[in-house]
């Protein structure tokens, strides 16, 4: 693919000609901030998925035979599976053979020696995403970059560009603490014993249609191992971006928190604007041993498609945490503002006694977006606790569904669940739905579920308007208030970003 001028550069050239038109066009298209595409030379595998493609992906990643076999087993299984239809989602049939399953920037084929050698387009991409230069250097894979002085607070980043991890920052510093943070393809090569032991142990290759497809074709992702008793010295972050057209992104994340360890993990996602839909099917597995704690925060801002529902990401994600050890604790926090279709249920298997699972979620669906998201809390151990706080916001013609399961097994004595699902409707063309499943098989546990549906309160609106706020500002403020409990659960930097996202996602939803 040749590098062409992007639309943005085009408009700059014409700037003097007709400023007003350009501004109008920019304003119209400017709602999705990350909607640009970088023209970078890419290596593609041929379209479609087959045994050969699975082998090719495995080979490109330099994987050992056991890994290739694992993938092929998953692929064999996937061919016999049917796409699930139970979600309240309406989308045209996906042609799984009309996608690229592997794409990587050509410039990454060999490691560059300095910033000058890095494809400037790749650097520009990170710039636009607001990743600081030092991290850019590391992400671009420049040798020795880790010794350069860091600015501000440290967050180690693993960036995944289309299918491939392009770089992980602060690896040396993390290594000192004993933390392993690298791409999953590196982990397969360098830490096979850990990967063999844990990969697929939480989400087995037989789990569900999308997870099984992921098991067969995942091209990269992140791997984290926190050794016993270690509190990870910095926040870890993965940044996912789909760039190339017709590419499916299938990343795989595996986090293992050994006994008594702690880690906070952030995940962010963006994609360019396109008329066609793009597929994203990720799998995230978390393993928690005794007394371990993982905080997993996601700000999902994939391209949602335009007002008419053209384009946008189809997001089918399987996320699950296995609290194997006693007293382990996991906390999922998600802000879902993007994607045309969201199908995502981060779950907690509370196996260890006294383990805890928490799920905090904001799902915003505007225009033609559809979200079917929620969680599963499976209580197996004694005195396990779970808490679900879900805030769904629907605007435009969007449909937003909370779907969840709380299951108390006979042996999960004296366990506790509290669930709160609130929906907010903005406009009379959208929908808000709640589908909770509650299964209680012992009497010493308590399960409480509450759900409400309401609209933006007229009195609150009036109060804000009276104080000079315009309608959109007022709605953003009220919605941020509505979602406060969830925003508070996010790490600080993310909370700020999420608040702004809430406002941006709802642009054009009133009036």
């Amino acid at each position: 693919m040749a590098a062409l001028d992007t639309d943005m550069q085009d408009t700059q050239v014409k700037d003097g000609v007709d400023r007003e038109t350009v501004e109008t066009v920019q304003a119209m298209g400017g709602k999705y901030k990350y909607g640009w595409e970088t023209e970078i030379e890419m290596d593609y595998a041929p379209k479609g998925v087959s045994e050969d493609i699975v082998r090719l992906i495995s080979e490109k990643n330099g994987e050992p035979e056991w890994m290739t076999d694992w993938r092929l087993q998953a692929f064999k299984r996937w061919k016999q599976m049917d796409e699930p239809e139970w979600a309240m989602l309406n989308y045209p049939a996906i042609d799984y053979q009309d996608q690229y399953y592997y794409a990587r920037p050509k410039s990454m084929a060999e490691k560059p020696k300095s910033l000058d050698e890095v494809d400037p387009k790749l650097l520009a991409t990170y710039d636009k995403l607001g990743i600081p230069l030092k991290e850019q250097m590391i992400l671009a894979g420049i040798e020795g970059a880790e010794d350069a002085p860091a600015e501000g607070r440290k967050v180690a980043v693993d960036a995944v560009f289309d299918s491939v991890s392009v770089g992980t920052t602060f690896q040396a510093e993390l290594k000192k603490a004993g933390v392993i943070f690298c791409s999953i393809s590196d982990a397969i090569r360098e830490h096979p014993e850990l990967v063999k032991k844990y990969l697929g142990s939480v989400v087995p290759i037989t789990d569900n249609f999308f997870a099984t497809l992921n098991s067969a074709v995942f091209s990269d992702g992140s791997f984290v191992y926190i050794p016993p008793g270690v509190r990870c010295p910095m926040e870890l972050s993965t940044y996912f971006r789909i760039n190339a057209e017709n590419t499916g992104q299938f990343e795989r994340t595996l986090i293992i928190a050994d006994k008594g360890s702690y880690v906070s993990y952030l995940e962010g996602c963006t994609a360019p604007k396109r008329d066609t839909h793009q597929l994203h099917a990720a799998v995230v597995e978390l393993v928690l041993l005794e007394d371990a704690e993982i905080k997993y925060s996601t700000v999902q801002n994939w391209y949602p498609g335009d007002e008419e529902g053209r384009g946008g990401i189809y997001n089918f994600v399987t996320k699950r945490a296995d609290c194997r050890g006693d007293r382990s604790k996991v906390m999922w926090t998600q802000v879902e503002t993007g994607s045309a279709i969201t199908w995502k249920y981060p779950s907690c298997i509370l196996r260890g006694d006294d383990s805890q699972g928490e799920f905090y979620s904001i799902a915003i669906a505007n225009n033609a977006q559809q979200a079917d998201t929620g969680t599963k809390m499976v209580h197996l151990g004694k005195r396990t606790k779970s808490r679900i706080v879900s805030k769904g916001i629907s605007a435009g013609r969007a449909q937003n569904t909370y779907r969840g399961l709380v299951s108390m097994h006979p042996k999960a004595k004296e366990s506790r669940n509290y669930t709160q699902c609130d929906s907010l409707l903005i406009g009379d063309k959208c929908g808000a739905h709640t589908v909770p499943y509650i299964e209680v098989k012992n009497n010493s546990s308590r399960v409480e579920h509450e759900a409400t549906t309401s609209k933006v309160d007229d009195e609150q609106m009036f109060y804000c308007r009276q104080r000079g706020m315009d309608e959109e500002e007022a709605v953003a403020l009220i919605v941020n208030g509505f979602a406060r409990e969830v925003l508070q659960a996010l790490p600080m930097e993310f909370a700020m970003e999420a608040q702004q996202l809430v406002a941006i996602s709802l642009e054009g939803s009133v009036g």
Binding site: D82, W86, M88, M408, P410, S423, L425, I426, G427, D428, K429, C430, G431, A432, H433, T434, V435, P436, Y437, I438, E439, V440, K441, N442, N443, S444, S445, R446, V447, E448, H449, E450, A451, T452, T453, S454, K455
Partner: protein
């Protein structure tokens, strides 16, 4: 998938083959034929169906009704006995004119279903199978289609004014293998008022369907007691359509029974209509299994309507409770007020409760909420009573009654509500003694 589909079809065909399609009247035959086609298209339910996830329908769909021992309550009189009412008696699913009262009542027309079908022009023609058909989307209810096609008997009731007294339908069980399929049609005309009472085991297996159309400003009260007979199996459907400012209130008490599935499908089609559905279930699986399933589907399709669902279950010794409730608010059904609560009290480690309280909302100016709680008896409350010298068993019963009372309070007629309360108290006392 193909295998499951084939199994479903075989199941449906073998059930159909074992039944006789009753004949009589032009419109009745047409409605039955339509229902049969519907049933064939959807197939009888299996455990794999989403709406039968928590309840195994096998004993309801198999060809022969499982045997159920006859039960005679010698220690108490029949429920509603003290109420001035018009009695309509069915024995094993067949109308018994001998035991029934004369079917004439001021403000009400009552006929046997077969008599209504024999006349080409009859008001019931507009409703028989029609409300059931409307209630088949978006979720299919194959047992109701089976009922419309094969109903052996039933009554049609039309209230034209304020009914002088309640119509009381009594179902007697006299044969251990009886398999009863009954279909009733109720029409409450504009501004009219009617109360229908139902009680009795009916048969070893009972499939009952009631279609209720309430015209503008009409009022319909329904009170049902499913009694102490252990071995009965029942699947019942109430299909209701409500006009402007109309009122529909239904309460069901279920005590024992191997399997009970009570479905309510209510459509609020006129502005300012009100629908309240309540249920209290008390299950003890000490001697026989107990499985009780309330499945409610309420559709708001008009403005300013109110719906309320209150369901309470007290379960012990392995008794299983299920609640599936849904509020659907269609586009334009603004100012809807929807409320739903389902609560289960599990008295021991073996009891279980499964719930799926759903909301599906397509209008923004609405107030909808649901709640569901499950847990053991409140130890603090128990301690309080015991500290005052109340024995543990008695204290538990008191708390059970208090817990269930929220559902009983939904009954508007205080006299009838008290009847239910007294009966529950009696049952609990007897249970405590023996």
């Amino acid at each position: 998938m193909a295998v499951a589909q084939q199994a479903k079809q075989d199941l449906t065909e073998s059930r159909i083959t074992a039944l006789d399609l009753p004949q009589g009247g032009v419109w009745g035959n047409a409605a039955r034929a339509d229902a049969l086609a519907r049933l064939r298209a959807m197939g009888l339910p299996t455990r794999r169906d989403e709406y039968w996830k928590f309840t195994d329908p096998t004993s309801l769909t198999q060809v022969a009704a499982p045997r159920a021992a006859l039960f005679e309550a010698k220690d108490e009189g029949p429920i509603f006995d003290g109420v001035d009412r018009l009695r309509v008696v069915f024995v094993d699913g067949v109308f018994d004119p001998e035991q029934s009262d004369d079917l004439s009542l001021s403000g009400v027309e009552i006929e046997r279903l077969s008599d209504a079908m024999a006349r080409d022009i009859h008001w019931a023609r507009e409703f028989y199978g029609k409300l059931e058909t409307a209630g088949q989307v978006p979720v299919v209810r194959p047992l109701a289609a089976l009922n419309t096609a094969f109903a052996q008997d039933g009554i049609v009731i039309r209230a034209t004014g304020k009914a002088e007294k309640p119509v009381s339908i009594i179902y007697l069980h006299r044969s251990e293998n009886s398999d009863a399929i009954l279909h009733h049609v109720v029409r409450v005309e504009e501004g009219a008022e009617l109360t229908v009472l139902e009680n009795g085991p009916a048969a070893a297996r009972f499939n009952k369907c009631m279609e209720i159309s309430v015209a503008d400003r009409g009022t319909f009260h329904h009170l049902r007691a499913q009694g102490r007979d252990h071995e009965r199996r029942a699947a019942t459907h109430m299909f209701a359509r409500l006009g402007e400012e109309s009122v529909y209130k239904s309460f069901t008490l279920t005590v024992n029974g191997v399997l009970t599935r009570n479905e309510h499908v209510i459509e609020l089609t006129g502005d300012d209509a009100i629908a309240h559905v309540a249920g209290a279930a008390m299950g003890d699986a000490r001697t026989h299994p107990y499985h009780h399933d309330d499945t409610v589907f309420i559709t708001h399709d008009a403005e300013r309507c109110e719906s309320r669902q209150v369901f309470k279950k007290v379960l012990r010794n392995g008794a299983e409770g299920v609640f599936q409730g849904k509020i659907l608010v269609k586009p334009g059904a603004q100012k809807t007020d929807g409320y739903q609560i389902s609560q289960a009290l599990l008295l021991d480690e073996e009891a279980s409760f499964q719930a799926k309280p759903e909301l599906e909302i397509y209008a923004d100016d609405v107030k909808c909420s649901h709640g569901s709680t499950t847990g053991a008896i409140d130890e603090t409350a128990l301690f309080y009573l015991r500290a005052r010298g109340v024995p543990r068993e008695t204290a538990t019963d008191l708390l059970v009654l208090a817990f269930i009372d929220e559902a009983i309070s939904e009954i508007e007629d205080e006299r009838l509500a008290n009847d239910i309360r007294v009966r529950l108290q009696m049952w609990l006392e007897r249970r405590r003694r023996g």
